[in-house]
């Protein structure tokens, strides 16, 4: 009995697999076309349209967009009042990023180094669970928590620590009438909603640091603090930067939290929202929207220069 060296093709799937084997790039191309179309045309296209809009201006009398290239809108953007908005947003984004990083590190470190099996599942569930509920629900829940009639004030009274709460609220600039109408409150809510975006990349980065590397550091005489500074932090830095890109840009672009919590001071996101909505000033809204992009570019350049991506 002779058996063939080549098995007969069973149908379309066999022939297709054969085609992909002969032309390996074909499959890759087919897989990449939809996302490239999406990214290239829809995403980058709209970004380009946004940039373009920012170089138009608005006719002050008719309120119509004049489709002619001008830097008038950018001149308008760089007024002192708008500086304040940009500076305030930048400061809040930086504070939120720092707060998230400090809070996320121990959690991410624990999950990467010690959590196994069931506890790992608990970790992922714990981090992801808040993402399953609506962002608005969470923000309103926080407003209630932070309100003067809320649970924090109640708890402070019950434990006779109202003095501390009042002292915190009496702080200049960041304090206020109540937590829910102060920058502190806004910071707390931002930190809460963006924390998972910091924990997850950090945990992924820490997971890739082999235990033997930490042991090598100790073995050579390093204290815990030295190990952290010279080995853990540099190796986890790409993850920290990835996380900070999320927290930083999400805070910079947000226009809902500053409306609900805080002292109704203006933020970039709110400014964009108002300019393109109520004010109908699309060019200025576009110019405002360009600011976070520029800030992120500067941030990433600085991070790259500081060697944050060397361990990638």
């Amino acid at each position: 009995m002779s058996r063939p060296a080549i098995l007969p093709a069973r149908g379309f799937a066999d022939r297709l697999t054969g085609l992909f084997w002969r032309r390996p790039r074909l499959l890759l191309g087919l897989m990449l076309t939809p996302p490239l179309l999406w990214l290239g045309v829809v995403y980058l296209g709209s970004l380009a349209a946004l940039l373009l809009q920012s170089f138009y201006s608005i006719d002050e009398f008719s309120g119509m967009v004049v489709p002619e290239f001008t830097l008038k809108t950018y001149a308008e953007l760089l007024r002192p009042a708008n500086y304040d908005v940009i500076f305030r947003t930048l400061l809040m984004s930086a504070a939120v990023t720092l707060g998230c990083a400090v809070l996320a590190f121990p959690i991410a470190y624990y999950a990467a180094r010690f959590a196994r099996g069931r506890w790992k599942a608990v970790f992922y569930l714990g981090v992801m669970l808040p993402l399953w509920s609506s962002y608005l629900v969470k923000v309103y829940a926080w407003k209630l928590i932070l309100a003067k009639e809320g649970i924090i004030t109640w708890a402070a009274e019950a434990t006779h620590t109202s003095g501390i709460l009042n002292a915190v609220l009496a702080l200049p600039v960041i304090g206020g009438n109540s937590l829910s109408t102060s920058y502190i409150g806004m910071f707390l809510v931002f930190t809460y909603v963006w924390l998972p975006y910091m924990i997850l990349p950090m945990q992924a980065a820490l997971e890739r640091v082999p235990t033997s590397m930490l042991e090598a550091s100790q073995d050579l005489g390093a204290t815990r603090a030295q190990t952290f500074r010279t080995v853990i932090l540099p190796l986890a830095l790409p993850g920290v930067i990835a996380g900070s890109i999320f927290t930083f840009s999400l805070t910079m672009g947000d226009y809902i939290i500053p409306q609900i919590v805080g002292n109704s001071a203006n933020f970039i996101g709110m400014a964009v929202y108002q300019l393109q909505g109520t004010a109908g000033n699309i060019p200025l809204a576009a110019a405002f929207a360009v600011v976070p992009i520029l800030i992120m570019l500067v941030y990433l350049t600085l991070a790259k220069r500081a060697g944050a991506f060397d361990a990638l």
Binding site: P210, E215, A216, Q218, D219, T230
Partner: protein, 328 residues
Amino acid sequence: MTVAVEFQSVSRHFGPVKAVDSVDLTIAEGAFFAMLGPSGSGKTTCLRLISGFEQPSGGSIRIFGEDVSRTPPHLRNVNTVFQDYALFPHMNVRDNVAYGLMVKGMAKAARHARAEEMLALVKLDRYGDRKPGQLSGGQRQRVALARALVNEPRVLLLDEPLGALDLKLREAMQDELKALQQRLGITFVFVTHDQHEALSMADSLAVFNEGRITQIGTPAEVYDRPATRFVADFVGSSNVLPPEMTRALGGPAQWASLRPENTRLAETGPVTGTVTALRYLGSGTRVILRAGETEIAALVPAGQPLPEPGATSAFAFAPDALHVMGGA
């Protein structure tokens, strides 16, 4: 003799698992000491007990007479070459080697000069500016060695130091490690599951099995006079003969070991077997005989006639080649 490392009934239990079970061990200063055993035999745990990455569940560990039970790894004057080398990927080779000096607060110029000396010692000068990722496996191994030696440890621990290297490189590194150890006079303790490595490098070795040390001795002692069937079987390949066969061959009714290289095929003999397999080794051919339940390997030197599989043959050996083992 100064004692470098001493274990007094040291145990390390992980839950119900006795990874190290009441081990007594003495390693002399300046020794090249091997801990040999199959995976899970407790040899690596013993190494980690010396470096401090594991703490004993019982017993005491002394390094140069000092009890280190309560000393954290970073305060022990002992350094480790890790199995995966554990080089810091974000630092160049020079900074990797200088790391131990950096954390002690030595100034940059001084520690870099010292690192270059260490790199020269392992023949890697001119590689200081490279990143570990740009080096070959053998070069990384040398960097790990230089980094572990920069602190001038009193004991150097090596965890499967040559495990990741290919055969040629492994043999070259064996010679180099041995030469380096003799030059520096530092006590080397290394863990391996490779008996050839242990026999060729160590000047004394401990054979581990199931958390205990089965035998300690020089390579020749362990090879020629294995204490148990396990050692006979694990260190080199050996014919392990049951008591009845030992007696048939003229020995006492006890378990015995017989090295294949000391066993020849013969026309006649007290025990005969059936040839079941032939293994060509280059320098000769190993012939496997089956006599009842026992397999006996004999060496037929190159150029001599070979039996056919299925043939019947006896075997012979020099009288002192049969090593009778105590106990089971």
